[in-house]
């Protein structure tokens, strides 16, 4: 899809003080879980956003910078631009249980994956982590899917106290061993990587980097020799373990390496 498609926002849900969900008046039926779209606010900027649900296109966005702040001011009925879907998403392994680990707003794209897993009758456990109870999102949606849901908060105000990865440990040890699918902040992903390596579990992790073109020609989102927009954003544990930059460096808009 070359030029952005302009579509109205049908509905907006306030998930918590930082996160809103935007339901767009369009559908991407061919999109795979883990893929992203480029969301354009004309006159502001355009950013990669993982797909939380494809039909209707649903995007969950935290307020982190100028673009998301502007997006949070958009009202129902106003129009935005969409290009995509882009990137390589998750590939569900049908013969193994699925262990989905999400941190913060990273749980949103995992909803799309969980929906597929349930439809394929894959036994699915979702472990979601957040700082405190107020930061949790998508709890009702996951419950409605009927997956096993484990909640962890840093302060213990909901679920068990600790990180999502700590809470996932016990499920990782189950027999048959699950396949791990994760999305969240990079320090969490590094912990997931170690979890997979320690327990010999296959894992697929969704990585975030600053993007410009979104379709593999500008090089902005490079992660060693990989392009997050084209080769990712979902990478295997083996791929990530072979990279020198994952968990250590990201790139700012100029392309300079910064600590993660």
């Amino acid at each position: 899809m070359p030029l952005p498609q302009i579509v109205p926002i049908r509905e907006i849900y306030v998930e918590n003080r930082r996160v809103r969900t935007f339901v767009l008046d369009t559908a991407l039926p061919e999109a795979q879980p883990g893929q992203f779209v480029m969301l354009w606010l004309p006159g502001v900027d355009e950013k990669p956003i993982s797909i939380a649900y494809p039909s209707p296109l649903t995007l969950t966005v935290a307020r982190v910078g100028p673009f998301s702040t502007a997006l949070h001011r958009v009202r129902e009925g106003e129009r935005v631009g969409v290009r995509g879907p882009f990137g390589r998403g998750f590939h569900l392994q049908p013969d193994r249980p699925a262990l989905l680990i999400g941190g913060g707003y990273g749980v949103a794209p995992l909803y799309f994956l969980a929906w597929h897993a349930v439809r394929q009758e894959i036994p699915t456990t979702v472990v979601m982590g957040a700082r405190r109870a107020n930061d949790l999102i998508y709890v009702d949606r996951f419950q409605a899917l009927g997956v096993e849901l484990v909640i962890a908060t840093d302060d213990g105000s909901a679920g068990r106290q600790g990180t999502a990865v700590e809470a996932a440990l016990e499920i990782a040890r189950r027999d048959p061993p699950p396949v791990v699918y994760a999305c969240g902040p990079e320090p969490m992903l590094v912990a997931v990587l170690h979890l997979c390596q320690k327990h010999g579990l296959p894992g697929q992790l969704s990585v975030e980097r600053y993007m410009k073109c979104g379709f593999g020609i500008c090089g902005q989102c490079s992660l060693d020799g990989m392009l997050v927009c084209l080769d990712g954003p979902v990478f295997s544990v083996e791929q990530l373990a072979s990279l020198t930059e994952f968990g250590r460096f990201r790139r700012n808009p100029t392309g300079r390496r910064m600590p993660v």
């Binding site: 354009w40 502001v44 355009e46 631009g81 410009k212 593999g216 020609i217 090089g219 020799g225 390496r257």
Partner: protein, 314 residues
Amino acid sequence: MAVDLSVSLCGIRLPNPTVLASGILGLTHGVLVRVACSGAGAVTTKSVSLAPRDGYPNPVIVEWGGGLINAVGLSNPGVEVMVDEIRAAKEQLAPLGVPVIASIFADTIYDFGTIARYVSEARPDLIEVNISCPNIDDQYLRMFAADPYVSAQVTRRVKANTDIPVLVKLSPNVTDILRIAEAVVEAGADGITAVNSLGPGLILDIETARPVLSHGTGGVSGPALRPIAVRCVYDICRTVDVPVIATGGITTARDAVEMILVGATAVGIGSAVYYRGLEVFREVCQGIQEYMERHGYRRVEDFRGRALEMMGHR
């Protein structure tokens, strides 16, 4: 009969004539190495400036049906960082025999000399002087490459500040590209890269009546640019006697052969990475080889500039 695809560009050997064009993927050594491993005969960095630049907000590149249009705004981390990237790329590409071309640009004629000196510390095999980005205006609100005198001055400053062979990248957006080519060669350019993107052009989103690119206008590249680029390379090669990297809309071996027929030594590939993926370098090389076998050519020189002869220029 063995076909030899290697070419010599300003005394530098390229294992084949395909070159990753500047501005595409060339931000980090990791990706430059990957492109070289995908079959490119040389790789060019994104244009580097003295200070870091954020570039423009998104969208910065879109496909519009006949090609790409871009206004990235020459984002780069600055020469201090890029020197390390170029060094690392050189080190890793040495065993492959794939040269690294450092693309440089500056806001003033004087600074072109300074950036040339700095970037030379990384010892790139060639320096490409970007005086032709259609999205950045110089202090007189014109592109350097629009004026033969200014283009020559930039070339002289760069040459005075480096001992590395210098390619000057020209713009198609001029009435008389051969005058510019003559001026930069006279000023000491060792070679020419032709051409940068065309335009600027403008693509609107008609629903919102706004330009799609955040910068508004942008440089046009890809298939729409190709016939113009071929004519520019033809004009340059029949006028001056320096090696030329022909860039502009090449997506297939046929397009590459066409550029060599009008006199190009090497062919830059940029937008085609979008249309064909990184396999484009191997596919183009494969196709050039088949063309050479079909015509009984053993070396690329055997057919370089053949169209100039046919058109009565040699």
